[in-house]
Amino acid sequence: MSTTLLLLADGRFPAGGHAHSGGLEAAVTAGRVRDLETLAAFLDGRLATAGLVAAAFAAAACRGGDTSTLDSEMDARTPSPALRKASRAQGRALLRAGRTLWTLSTVERELHHPVALGVVAAAAGLAPEEAALTAAYGTVTGPASAAVRLLGLDPYATHALVARLARDCDAVARRAARVATVDELPACSAPLLDIGAEAHASWEVRLFAS
């Protein structure tokens, strides 16, 4: 437990997250997310898939895993080019912020976001499980805050959803931090996140970058 963890997990940390909806804008436009109930189901699925993958990669990178191996393994788990682009854009923004605050172990300028998060967390002195927790938490708070903006949902009720996910988030982070080898890194896919991201990238008018 540390203030540094809170700093890195803070939605106001200037790492570009505010412009990404974590697939929520696509799900809202497709009519799949309309209200608190459908948002809750969206967050469940996202945490169990993209959340677990991101957490495991963040932990592995924080533990000192080879960033270029992790980065290409992340590519292999991200079939959607739109999501690869979004992940790299956020990774780049995070490395920019991290490099200003701490001394990073990598000279890479652009990595997938979870890998970048692990690198930055390590530089900040955080443990792999804390990196995993930050990643898992980010995969739900991003779309939750986008839902407040896009659907005008009650911010209290939306935060209550996130609060209810706290134990699941903790469990995902613990599980992610136990992953010991590259082969064990999870690859949980969420077909509609991939398909939705591709649809989103093809729109002429959108509010979020992804």
């Binding site: 697939g23 799900a27 497709a30 799949r32 997310v33 459908t38 189901a41 969206f42 967050l43 469940d44 699925g45 996202r46 945490l47 169990a48 898939t49 993209a50 290409s72 393994e73 590519d75 292999a76 788990r77 991200t78 079939p79 959607s80 080019p81 739109a82 690869r84 699941d168 999870p186 690859a187 949980c188 896919s189 969420a190 077909p191 509609l192 996140l193 991939d194 398909i195 591709e198 649809a199 990238a201 093809s202």
Partner: protein, 256 residues
């Protein structure tokens, strides 16, 4: 039940010859195409109708030699079912006693081509099934790999099924996908994963001719997209739909 099937295809004088065709019930392999195909040789797995059952350990090994061309299909969908009732006197049961597993390992040598086009897996109520596929491609090999899952029989909630697939190209991971549905999986029916769709599928195509220029990303409808991969001349089509027909239709037109 424990069974291993083995299929080995090699190229000889411009033709593909099946040098191994090993069946073991319930995995029965039959050659179905013309006997002396100048092009691709086709085999079917038959008798896959009822099963795998809980407790089954199935394994399929496919080897495609340099320049050989093989297509593998199944005659019907696989229906994953729970195993027989566990007798109390047999003592406590472990997941290994009740889970069914299917392990597929395929290797395709340089210039070889494998098309893996089975019918879907139907995850029936109460099943506990795990499929793992590992495909190793030498660089310059071609692959078409289809995976489809239907969540339960008509009007039925699915049991637990998870599919893990890894495709490596020249020793590097090209694609990795794990999909889990059923009561133990979290959020799978929700709007991030299947959004209430009862069927989903992917079609992965690796084609050395795409080395210069892979197919472009394309939205194929409200529940389907074609996506060029980062790590090689390959693209994945993914589809989610109300039933298998919808999913199959999207996958069928993904690369045409």
């Amino acid at each position: 039940m424990k069974a291993t099937a083995r299929i080995t295809a090699v190229a000889e004088a411009g033709r593909t010859r099946l040098v191994t065709l090993r069946s073991e019930p319930p995995l029965l392999v039959r050659r179905t195409g013309p006997r002396h195909a100048a092009g691709e040789v086709e085999v079917h797995l038959v008798g896959g109708a009822a099963g795998p059952l809980g407790g089954d350990r199935l394994r399929i090994e496919v080897t495609v030699g340099p320049g050989a061309r093989l297509c593998v299909r199944t005659v019907a969908a696989s229906l994953a079912l729970p195993g027989p009732r566990w007798p109390e006197r047999a003592g406590p049961r472990s997941p290994a006693d009740t889970q069914s597993t299917l392990d597929i390992h395929a290797t395709v040598a340089a210039g070889g081509s494998l098309r893996w086009l089975p019918e879907p897996l139907i995850a029936a109520r109460g099943c506990d099934h795990v499929s793992r596929s590992l495909v190793d491609l030498e660089s310059d090999a071609s692959l078409t790999w289809r995976e489809e899952v239907v969540c339960g029989r008509h009007g039925e909630d699915p049991g637990d099924a998870s599919l893990h697939s890894t495709v490596r190209l020249g020793g590097r991971t090209l694609a990795r996908q794990d999909l889990a549905v059923g009561p133990r999986a979290c959020g799978w029916a929700g709007p991030a994963v299947l959004g209430g769709g009862r069927a989903t599928g992917t079609l992965l195509v690796v084609d050395p001719l795409w080395t210069e220029k892979p197919p472009e990303a394309a939205v194929l409808g409200p529940g389907a997209a074609r996506m060029p991969l980062a790590g090689g001349p390959a693209a994945l089509a993914a589809a989610v739909g109300g039933d298998l027909r919808e999913v199959r239709a999207a996958l069928d037109r993904a690369f045409t």
